[in-house]
């Protein structure tokens, strides 16, 4: 078998999008409070889920190349633009703490009924337009200090892929244990029940019987 199939059609997009959206929702990433809990130290799910996914995907790509299903260099690897990549990542970090989502999770937030996610999306469209307006001024900074095309950590450190993947698995494990200890100290992580009960509590008028709404843990 030979991968990638390079199928970028409608069904490919829909199918992979459904998997992506389902996984993010199952992780609880349709909830802005659970997501932002990462940086408030109350919920380390963003770190845990993301690092697990990175290790699983990286190991799978390595395995596919080992058994000859995929050739090295046959799939897209983003190129580093030191300032652009780092500053862009930082702006997204700030915007995430203000807005509650990143772009992908905002789609899951909307799919989970969150109106704030829809407003956030309007903001993203506006922010993209602002970038286009100032692109000529910002281009020298954005495209400066481009690293080698498709530069990877194994190339940077001069080790094989599986060494980097093993190191990432160790970092993920240590971060996981640390995160679990910290989030418990801060009363987390958020449960689906708590997030939704507190939403219901906010929406309901004063003095009404809250029925099944549970007190905060």
């Amino acid at each position: 078998m030979t991968f990638p199939l390079y199928d970028n059609g409608l069904l490919s997009g829909l199918f992979l999008g459904v998997l992506f959206g389902y996984a993010l929702e199952a992780a609880g990433f349709g909830s802005a409070r659970r997501l932002t809990g990462q940086f408030l130290l109350t919920d380390w799910s963003v770190f845990k889920v993301m690092f697990t996914a990175v290790v699983v995907a990286a190991f799978g790509l390595w395995l596919f190349q080992m058994i000859g299903w995929m050739r090295p260099g046959s799939y897209y690897v983003p190129t580093l633009l030191l300032y652009g990549t780092f500053l862009g990542g930082a702006l997204i970090g700030i915007g995430f703490m203000l807005g509650g989502y990143c772009p992908g999770t905002s789609a899951v937030g909307l799919a989970s009924g969150r109106i704030d996610a829809l407003v956030y999306m309007v903001g993203m469209v506006a922010g993209s337009a602002v970038y286009a307006m100032v692109f000529d001024w910002i281009r020298p900074l954005a495209l400066a200090t481009a690293g080698p095309q498709g530069w990877t950590l194994p190339q940077l450190f001069g080790v094989s892929d599986i060494v980097v993947i093993a190191a990432l698995a160790v970092i993920a494990f240590i971060g996981w244990k640390l995160g679990t200890a910290v989030e418990r100290r801060f009363g987390g992580p958020y449960t689906a029940e708590k997030v939704l009960a507190e939403m219901d509590g906010l929406e309901a008028p004063e003095g009404r019987d809250f029925g099944r709404v549970q007190p905060a843990e």
Binding site: F3, L24, E25, G28, S31, Y76, G99, R114, V130
Partner: protein
Amino acid sequence: MNAQPRPFWHPLAAGTLLGVALLLTFAITGHGLGASGFFARTAAWLANAIAPEWTASNSYFGPFVRSGNPLASWISWEIVGVLIGGFLGATAAGRFRLGIERGPSISAGTRLLSALVGGVLVGFGARLAQGCTSGVGLSGAGSLAVAGFVFLAGFFAAGFATAYFTRRLWQ
């Protein structure tokens, strides 16, 4: 009243499913998952509808509209899929809730304003980084790209640095 929601998945289970989805995406399409590209394309599409001449001559949006409808792209279908997958998961588990999610100490108006401002920063930042947490962070790190880890370093550093000043929005 709403039925009791089912718990979120254990992070190991959700992360594994997400990793498999990402691996399948590489195997089927030759690239990773993304999200912000759709919103940039939506912006180019809207700009083209409002001011076609400006859009065509703009150095960033121009290339998007030159080859036809900027929304006619794999990533648009992927985002439609994300909406469907998220909706199916949320409704099946009793986690769909129409409303504004916010901390108990701010008003709905403050929450929507912060969502809008946050969205603008993220929309801009994602263009600067040529992708977002999905496209550069998750997919980049999954392909072991240096760019993916530099992105995540910026994202996590800024997130922790901003947390103290934004905590009232959420707690």
